[in-house]
Symmetry: C2
Subunit: 336 residues, 2 copies
């Protein structure tokens, strides 16, 4: 079985790759080749695996060559993030809309040449939801809430969901769209996503670094750990069409928490000294974007697939600490 992960050099993509390689199979078939396409090279441990092939470059440029190659499955994670898209409208259209269309057309070209429609999981986002003057957003969104995106990123994700649904209806791919919750705790540096602080306020204090929270402690948000997110993507890939149900996107499981609850969990797991490294300083740009996001999410279709959120945010922090076992610098603040 030959699988493509777009965005395979990114955090979620690389973690998904590791999970697939560790399993060695997908949908009861042996994983023989894993192609990781990204603008950046994947981590060294992935490149070292003989089943892995890394392709570095923009997805849009790579799609022409994909017409000459068969894949059994695709995880399409590559995306410009919300902050980037707000700052550079054309970059967002190119990276998110044009690339997805080119990918779908490359897969369709293979089907026209006799390939079976490849199974495809598109990573959409909770950012498709937002409040509109004509359509109030419920506090907790569900699989059937009307999405009215309030960022370009959210619009791109929603548009791509509908492209995937129509290419699926036509038999060009066997597509499924899973809306990711905000993934936390992400390692490394802050990225351009407006949601970046949902990781920063945990990651930086654990590393012994001060962190600024750009929104108030009352802000609530649906989050998920990296591991549950990856498990969700795999489960959606492996689900039968009947179990997946319809062609509309589904929400992956969410743990609905406030910033205050996240920080209380941090104190509970890591102690008051770590917690004290977070201070509040409102950033109007970020706060404005986040104010338009839902404060919680339900994931009924995912639950029917057996997917559940973490039991507590403490569990999410403990997962991050366990992930950092080989990287003492990331936990310098915990032990000081």
């Amino acid at each position: 079985m030959k699988i493509l992960i777009t965005g395979g050099g990114g955090f979620v993509g690389a973690r998904l790759a590791r999970s697939l390689l560790a399993r060695g199979c997908l949908s009861n078939r042996s994983l023989s080749q894993l192609v990781l396409a990204d603008q950046v090279a994947p981590p060294a441990d992935l490149i070292a695996d003989t089943r892995v092939q890394a392709r570095v470059g923009t997805l849009l440029d790579q799609c022409a060559a994909l017409r000459d190659e068969s894949f059994d499955g695709v995880f399409h994670l590559a995306s410009a993030v919300s902050g980037e898209c707000e700052l550079d409208f054309d970059l967002g259209l190119r990276s998110n809309l044009d690339s997805t269309r080119a990918l779908l057309d490359a897969l369709r070209a293979r089907v026209a040449q006799g390939d079976a429609p490849p199974r495809l999981v598109f990573s959409s986002s909770v950012a498709v939801y937002g409040p509109d003057a004509a359509v109030p957003m419920p506090a907790v969104v569900s699989d059937t809430t009307l999405p009215t995106p309030q960022t370009s990123y959210g619009m791109h994700k929603l548009v791509c969901e509908h492209l995937v649904a129509d290419y699926t209806r036509k038999g060009y791919v066997d597509g499924r769209c899973a809306r990711l919750m905000t993934v936390t705790v992400r390692p490394g540096k802050p990225n351009g996503a407006a949601s970046s602080f949902f990781s920063g306020i945990i990651r930086e204090p654990l590393a012994g670094v001060e962190s600024v929270c750009p929104v108030g402690p009352e802000v609530a948000h649906p989050v998920s750990s990296p591991q549950r997110t990856v498990e969700g993507l795999i489960a959606v890939f492996e689900a039968s069409r009947q179990a997946y149900g319809g062609r509309t996107a589904l929400n992956l499981p969410a743990l609905n928490v406030t910033v205050a609850q996240m920080l209380a969990a941090l104190e509970s797991v890591a102690g008051p000294a770590v917690r004290s490294r977070v201070r509040f300083e409102r950033d109007e740009r970020v706060a404005g974007i986040v104010a338009n996001w839902p404060t919680g999410a339900r994931a009924d279709r995912a639950a029917a697939l057996g997917l559940l959120p973490e039991a507590s945010f403490e569990d999410i922090i403990r997962q991050y600490i366990a992930d950092c076992a080989a990287n003492p610098a990331a936990l310098k603040g915990l032990n000081s």
Copy 2:
């Protein structure tokens, strides 16, 4: 005031053009120039008006030149229709998605050069709605019903709604999206739309021609007359942003009727001999598409703008008969 109508050579576009020329103004400003862009030339009466400029060619080809021209307002009606899009996937993507994107980018380029964001009305469609295994469709759809399109045409319309909403949010256009109900009675020949028979079963018998209805008499559908449709587009253009409300699309008013009610109205207005020229012969392709359309629609936001549907289908037939006054052949069956 300089206005562009894409699809200005088509039936709704030409009727809209006539209405605007007859009014002589829009949003309390005098109409000085009306550009009609279409693949076909507009009718002779429109070309004869000195305010009209016809541009014949595909919209996609015309959009580059639109970057050098200022418009105060745009009615974007150009579209490949549902039947065409099901038969030619690439044509649909090009005509409906790529053209709308190119149009929006041309308007945005003007704003970048200092133009005020032009007001734009995009004609979306009731075809955005459909049943999905995961999201049952209500019998009567409303402004807030979750659209899950079941045709490429419906997908294109929904995607363009969200493009217009995001370009509007960014200040690149002042966009509004109005979902047209099925417009009937259309004059002329059947077109490639799966909904074409909703006009054919009235138009052909009135012209003395046999007509085949490809779906059963129990099929219900939301329809609107050409005149109410045009009035709706103008009202949506003229509405303040506050009155329009939000950035999501709204439904134009619908008269919800069954095929049986349409034929009873035909008999009531035109007599049993005319009615008897319609026979039922199921067409699986058309019936399959129509089965996924809503059987009725509400239009609460349009009603708040003062827009209401016709009182009866008899009124719609009488409007068509009045429109045909100058064309006796169209009513040959009525007087025979």
